[in-house]
């Protein structure tokens, strides 16, 4: 059996006295796109934050078989575990260029490498090239999401984790964003996607974890979820 790209074992996290994520285990294989579905407050964002140690908690995190549980966030980023946060986490007062360059922080400032990565991002999102000197805060929601994903791609991720990338976007733009993620996955990038727009996410993923009340209540192939009714069944589990 091949070593998973990401494996978490009994990972939990709490905010004060509230255990937002109960001991949870999951895997993402190399080149796999896995979706986590769940209602509001299920612990989906907390799970991603726990994996990236933004909200540290007990449990094991293995990346390519190596235990990285004790590493701080910036060290995980250096390994290629990159999170696109809910709300995008852009630096609004900075230009598109500066946001993108910050994404390549793990290059150590290597100009040639940064330039090469920029070109890759521009191939993916040509729109960003036209907006290089614009403040991120002045962009539309769709453009901001492109920038957030583009900035994450600047880090040359091995595992890209996204927290509701379609949030607040028009349906057409959301669909295009998710389609872009699908293309990145087809190119071999491992993706862990948290998404509320279930139909879109299910189209991309082969495997789905359903999270409810801070714990995984189902793990199943995406084709087994035929309707919203199926999901509701799990949410009420």
């Amino acid at each position: 059996m091949t070593t998973p790209l990401l494996e978490i074992r009994e990972l939990s996290a709490r905010y004060g006295h509230v255990e937002a994520l109960k001991p949870t285990s999951l895997t993402v294989a190399e080149g796999e796109l896995v979706t986590i579905l769940g209602p509001n407050g299920a612990g989906k964002s907390t799970l991603l934050r726990a994996v990236t140690r933004l909200t540290p908690g007990p449990g094991a995190i293995l990346f390519k078989g190596r235990d990285v549980s004790a590493l701080p966030t910036h060290k995980l980023s250096e390994l290629g575990i990159i999170l696109v946060q809910e709300g995008r986490g852009l630096f609004g007062e900075m230009s598109v260029r500066e946001n993108l360059i910050l994404g390549a922080y793990n290059t150590g400032g290597n100009a040639a490498e940064i330039a090469a990565r920029l070109e890759k991002v521009f191939t993916l999102f040509p729109r960003l090239k036209e907006r290089l000197d614009q403040k991120a805060a002045l962009m539309s929601g769709g453009e901001q999401q492109m920038l957030a994903i583009g900035r994450a791609m600047m880090a040359d991720p091995k595992l890209l984790m996204l927290d509701e990338p379609s949030l607040g976007l028009a349906p057409r733009v959301a669909a295009e964003i998710l389609e872009t993620l699908g293309e990145l996955n087809r190119q071999g990038l491992g993706i862990l996607l948290v998404e509320q727009k279930a139909p879109l996410a299910l189209r991309l993923a082969r495997r789905v974890y359903v999270l409810s009340l801070g714990r995984i209540v189902a793990e199943l192939p995406s084709h087994e979820i035929k309707s919203h009714h199926d999901l509701t069944h799990y949410y009420l589990h």
């Binding site: 701080p72 980023s77 990159i82 910050l102 191939t123 036209e130 389609e179 872009t180 293309e183």
Partner: protein, 328 residues
């Protein structure tokens, strides 16, 4: 048909090109102040000298507060270290002023590193209070450790700036040296702001979580930023000591914190020009309003409040709005 993964949304805004009017205006105003200083009498030279020293202090403070988004109410502690360090090394031990300035900067940097390591684990108001305590402690030490600082009596006999046979003997020569050091300090800050480190600091100011998620070592960079601010504060304290030839605890007291905050917010925090504009305006405004006699303070405060209300991002922010930066 499968939609393309390459995303091309319609254009919703545009960029503009033109002359960099803001930079031209600021350069012209700066040149005007310098010409005015060197053609005026000794009192004006002293006022502009103080403004330049404060500008240097605020440039450092701006790096920590404006660019890195942290709060410090205690940078006066490092100015005191610089001032007393230079005074003691030159007046008591015969060090060259320039050497003393560099040595006290190094010492202040080490102190900032030691103090900052535990202190910067705090955030927001807690960090502000901890740094404020740092300033108060330094103030009390400067009063009570009389063997070292001469307490309220103050420290006199501090030589003017210089090294080897070259000394700035007149106030205008001293002002020239201070302005050169200020220019170097501002250029260094501008360079740092746009460096990889500076960008990372500004990312921390934007969101510590997002910065951390990008691989930026947030705690370490906050500490380095704190040390940079301390180096500037120390240099400003040293320059003050050499420029005036006398220091006392009040020079580096809480009033210095209030004054520097006024300059920073009035000029425009988070901008390179802001500390310079703020220092000049806050230093010169009371002098320009002497004609109001008994109403001088009221007039000064009304103008300050007016600027803060109508230009909440400071004068630099106002210029930004009126004369947008050139974009390509």
């Amino acid at each position: 048909m499968k939609s393309s993964p390459i995303m091309t949304l319609p254009i919703t805004t545009s960029t503009s090109a033109g002359l960099p009017w803001r930079q031209i205006l600021l350069a012209a105003l700066g040149a005007l102040v310098v010409v005015f200083a060197f053609s005026a009498n000794g009192y004006v030279v002293t006022v502009i000298g103080f403004a330049a020293i404060y500008a240097l202090f605020c440039t450092g403070l701006n790096f920590f507060m404006g660019f890195t988004g942290q709060a410090s109410f205690g940078q006066n502690a490092f100015a005191a270290l610089g001032g007393y360090g230079s005074a003691i090394l030159t007046a008591d031990y015969g060090f060259e002023p320039a050497v003393a300035l560099v040595l006290t900067m190094a010492f202040s940097g080490v102190v900032a590193l030691i103090v900052g390591y535990p202190t910067l684990r705090l955030r927001g108001h807690y960090l502000a209070m901890a740094t404020f305590a740092l300033g108060l402690i330094t103030y009390e030490i400067s009063i009570n450790w009389t063997d070292l600082t001469q307490g309220y009596m103050g420290y006199s006999g501090i030589p003017p700036l210089g090294i080897g046979p070259y000394y700035a003997d007149t106030p205008k020569q001293q002002l020239a040296v201070i302005l050169i050091l200020l220019a170097l300090g501002v250029m260094a800050a501008a360079g740092l702001k746009n460096s990889r480190f500076g960008r990372a600091c500004r990312a921390i100011a934007g969101s510590e979580l997002a910065a951390g998620a990008l691989g930026i070592p947030v705690a370490r960079y906050k500490l380095v930023s704190f040390v940079i601010a301390a180096l500037y504060a120390s240099a400003a304290g040293s320059l003050f000591a050499h420029f005036v030839g006398f220091i006392s605890p009040e020079v580096f007291g809480t009033a210095m914190v209030v004054q520097s905050f006024t300059m920073l917010y009035l000029g425009g925090i988070g901008t390179i020009a802001g500390p310079l504009i703020g220092a000049v305006v806050v230093s010169l405004l009371p002098e320009l309003m002497r004609g109001l006699k008994d109403y001088q303070t009221i007039g000064y405060l009304v103008i300050l409040l007016g600027i803060l209300i109508y230009a909440p991002k400071g004068i630099a922010g106002l210029l930004d709005r009126l004369l947008p930066k050139r974009e390509g």
